[in-house]
Symmetry: C2
Subunit: 311 residues, 2 copies
DNA sequence: AGTTCGATATGAGTATTGTTCATGTAAGCA
DNA sequence: TGCTTACATGAACAATACTCATATCGAACT
């Protein structure tokens, strides 16, 4: 009689809709089509005899029934994950070594908290963060100096397996009150007359230069700074413009310290991936680290979207 | 990577296997074939890369991995049920009236505790137990005197909807040391020379008489008693034989007060069903009462099996 | 108003996966 | 050693989840 055939899939769906704020965005996160999400939600609502999502509102609002089911999802899904983790430990053991190399300056912002959550559930894994900027971190991987690399360039290489983390937007930063702040988004020529403030990395590693300015033939003067705060300080004091990931500047935007604009009409989007040795790809503690980072990032960082590029 | 596609279905399966003590028994409870259960379990084990059930042992033993997943099931499934109940309340309201009529003397044994658990989750429903033995309780249902009837006879009647509760075995009771106790099971003629002690109901309501003794032309003398303990006392003091549901006599068997034997090689099995007015069948508080009773009974009563008879 | 754009809905077709049916195999018990 | 009970297996079938292509809807902007 009360044969409501609800499944974990439905809970994950509802959670994704709530977190992503819409069916379409949820579909991307779940690696499904928008149609699949719509159909699935509809059939669930039909089975329950109750609407779960207020379709009109944006971002999509859950109904009272939807919120009750979401509460169930929040209670149950972590338990499921924990159980699967325990099973993985039963299978492969709960110890391991995980030396992480990062090729991106701002990545520490989200990597450190993610590592903290990870440590809680895999206390047996020895976590290490390799210091210093690495020119070719993938080499470290193959030389067994590192076990996991965070990179923005998932070009296939022998013996290396990539997994996508997320896509994020690079925002152009202007001092408050700057003339360009009147525009909704910036074009390559808007950078021409300004100094570009960047981390100390080669030009071909800068997405803004490589994918936007260079193709347009714009070559602004550059000035380098080591730290994110230093870059922001230089922008705020009108020494030039910069481009940083949305998540890295969100706190400064809130305080009005600098102003951000998309680069190009659709924005400049970049992605992060992790690389591991293919031989290690099956290890549970490694796979779960990647899951943890991804989950943690989507929960913590603003303006993420799923990665699209296939290695 | 860690894409273990586990679903609530799997948890319910594992719980059924653990409770029923075997794949075949679990299949019956889930209203599936044994084959389906075997396939499903196998695919789950393959997905996890771990065996969950020790097939050799009887009753089927869970492995460490199986026990971990079972723990998850015990934690998660009640939360799911609670959520579905809340949704049902959102949909249909949380109040109602539920007057229960019972046509079986021993049913109070399990009905009262089940009503107690039910009261906890549906405090808004007014529960009433109609007293006295009813000749035709279905009539009460149609006259709006009762809202739910427990019966062993689900013959279709207009305006009445039946739902199966469970099947149970009627055991013949002998005093300890009785000659018949040497047999593994009793045959109709074994009853011929003994007084049959029963509740005060017409003969055609006694399964033993109707389905076993009458067809064999055996007509033993009868003696009636109102209470279960009285019947047991009479058997123990060698005034005759009786037949009662296995669950009703289990505590007395443990203490060796009486001895029980199956009736016929395969035992005499009876079933209980509930009847509600078809107009009410959709009401959430009613449907959930039936679920509660069924769950509660299987958890509490020994030797149950799913009902087979279709109304 | 009309147009455009982003988001959701829908219907038909396909793919996947769950279930049954009909057997086969292994282990426990007279 | 047969008999019985429980589980496994493979092929056929059924259910259902997903995608593709397209329609509809609503808000924002001329």
């Amino acid at each position: 009689m009360n044969n409501t055939h609800i499944e974990l899939r439905h809970l994950r769906l509802l959670q994704a809709v709530a977190e992503a704020g819409g069916l379409t965005a949820a579909a991307e996160r779940l690696h499904l089509t928008q149609s699949a999400v719509s159909h699935q939600l509809k059939s669930l609502e039909a089975a329950l005899g109750l609407p779960l999502v207020e379709r009109a509102a944006r971002p999509a609002q859950l109904t009272a029934a939807g919120r009750r089911l979401l509460a169930l999802a929040h209670a149950a899904l972590p338990q499921v994950d924990a159980a699967l983790r325990d099973l993985a430990k039963l299978k492969d053991g709960d110890a391991g070594e995980l030396r992480i190399a990062v090729e991106c300056h701002t990545c520490y912002d989200w990597l450190m908290p993610a590592m903290d959550s990870y440590r809680d559930v895999w206390p047996g894994v020895e976590l290490d963060l390799l210091g210093g900027f690495q020119a070719d971190p993938i080499a470290l991987l193959l030389e067994q100096q590192a076990d996991l690399v965070v990179t923005s360039d998932p070009t296939p290489r022998g013996g290396v397996t990539y997994a996508p983390l997320f896509g994020f937007e690079m925002l152009a930063l202007l001092p408050p009150g700057h003339t360009l702040a009147t525009k909704k988004w910036l074009l390559p020529r808007d950078f021409a007359e300004h100094t570009l403030i960047t981390y100390p990395v080669p030009e071909d590693r800068l997405d803004l230069v490589r994918r936007v300015l260079a193709p347009a033939g714009v070559k602004p003067p550059r000035r380098e700074a080591q730290l994110t705060v230093a870059i922001l300080q230089l922008v705020a004091s009108r020494r030039g413009l910069a481009a940083l990931p949305a998540w890295a500047v969100a706190p400064y935007l809130e305080r009005g310290y600098v102003v951000a604009r998309p680069i190009g009409k659709h924005g400049l989007w970049a992605e992060l991936h992790v690389a591991v040795r293919s031989a290690d790809a099956g290890r549970a503690y490694l796979a779960d680290f990647i899951d943890t980072v991804r989950r943690d990032s989507f929960a913590r960082l603003p303006g993420l979207r799923p990665a699209i590029i296939q290695p």
